[in-house]
């Protein structure tokens, strides 16, 4: 029987086919799913903030886009994935409230997405698909077997990217 492993907020987990990884209710945070299509080892990170270097207390590695993605890749490679074959899909980064835009000079959801894209580009991991922004929460499930990234939102049809 395959298992779906849960990833919390500021958390990351890896798994191997036929298992999957999920994170529930992504808001302004971003979910980054990375897999090696040949070995079918994959993982999911749920990051909250764009940049670990901008925060004094940055010991929580999966909380940040930069350190979270590095750690996810490190664990995937350690589990047997090949670094150069890794591909990514991303979701989340919504702006849940209008006032959020006023709170931060730039919207944090948008900043998270930008930081994730920049980090993946720097690490030369291609982004095959994404579902980001807008103003609603998303639950995501990632299957390293197929690379399917299932996205559910309230009042919207389920989609697979």
């Amino acid at each position: 029987m395959s298992e779906i492993i849960k990833v919390g907020m500021a958390d990351l987990k890896i798994c191997k086919s036929p298992d999957g990884v999920t994170t529930l209710g992504l808001g302004s945070c971003v979910g980054i799913a990375i897999r090696d299509p040949l070995t079918k080892i994959g993982g999911l990170a749920h990051i909250m903030l764009p940049d670990s270097t901008a925060i004094r207390d940055n010991s929580n590695i999966p909380k940040f886009a930069d350190t979270g993605i590095e750690e996810l890749v490190r664990q995937l490679v350690a589990a047997g994935a090949l670094r150069v074959r890794l591909v990514a899909k991303i979701a989340g980064g919504a702006q849940m409230f209008g006032a959020q835009g006023r709170a931060n000079a730039v919207k944090v959801g948008e900043r998270n997405v930008e930081a994730v894209r920049a980090k993946l580009l720097q690490m030369r991991i291609p982004i095959l698909a994404s579902d980001t922004g807008l103003n609603y929460g998303r639950t995501v499930i990632f299957y390293p077997e197929t690379g399917d990234f299932v996205i559910k939102a309230i009042g919207k049809p389920e989609k697979v990217i």
Partner: protein, 203 residues
């Protein structure tokens, strides 16, 4: 404050806890006046939770919630959130509008507007008590409303707390009347505002 860290400051936590208690009490009174019903409040539970635990505390990350969020300006700055479960939100709206309760499904435009008003009054009275207590000017912005999964709504305050530490301060209040409703407050002062609050109350 240079070395403020929410993760290991028992004393500050106690202060915020006490402010939370008083604020929630005031909010209950305002709620009772608004719906013209007797509303009792159980002693609020104030908890400092890890990010992973917050969704659980509200019945799971996918529990549909109504969240009212606004910014706080004046002598202190930050933001404030009030959350209600979807069902509790329907109940309150029906009471306020004197209409039969529509338990399921999406809210109408009129209901959303009523819900925003409920949130506005509850949060306003909460902040007002904080303002009186600290003798500081606290000006709330126009509230924004979101009906979505608890996890998604909570990502907003979690991210703001995330800049300070790995925990979130949650005040859970149970309003009881003919039915009991769970409401949650989250107050997020900016880093420098903690200092001002503590100084204002003589710590």
């Amino acid at each position: 404050m240079e070395n403020f860290n929410l993760n290991d400051s028992e004393q500050y936590f106690d202060v915020l806890k006490e402010l939370g208690n008083i604020g929630a009490g005031n909010a209950t009174t305002a709620l009772a006046q608004m719906i013209q019903c007797k509303v009792d409040m159980k002693v609020p539970q104030v908890r400092l939770l890890d990010f992973q635990e917050v969704g659980q505390a509200m019945g799971g990350e996918e529990q549909i919630m109504a969240g009212v969020y606004l910014l706080v300006e004046g002598d202190i700055t930050g933001s404030m959130m009030f959350l209600l479960e979807e069902k509790a939100a329907h109940t309150l709206v029906a009471k306020l509008m004197q209409m039969p309760e529509n338990q399921e499904g999406p809210f109408s435009e009129m209901e959303l507007s009523a819900l925003k008003e409920i949130g506005n009054i509850i949060v306003g009275s909460y902040l007002n008590s904080l303002s009186v207590l600290t003798n500081m000017m606290i000006v709330p912005s126009v509230p924004d409303l979101s009906i979505d999964m608890a996890g998604a709504i909570l990502s907003v305050p979690a991210i703001e707390f995330g800049e300070l530490g790995d925990k979130i301060l949650l005040i859970q209040t149970q309003f009881t009347d003919d039915v009991s409703l769970d409401g949650y407050f989250i107050l997020i002062p900016d880093l420098e505002s903690y200092d001002k609050i503590l100084t204002a109350i003589g710590m």
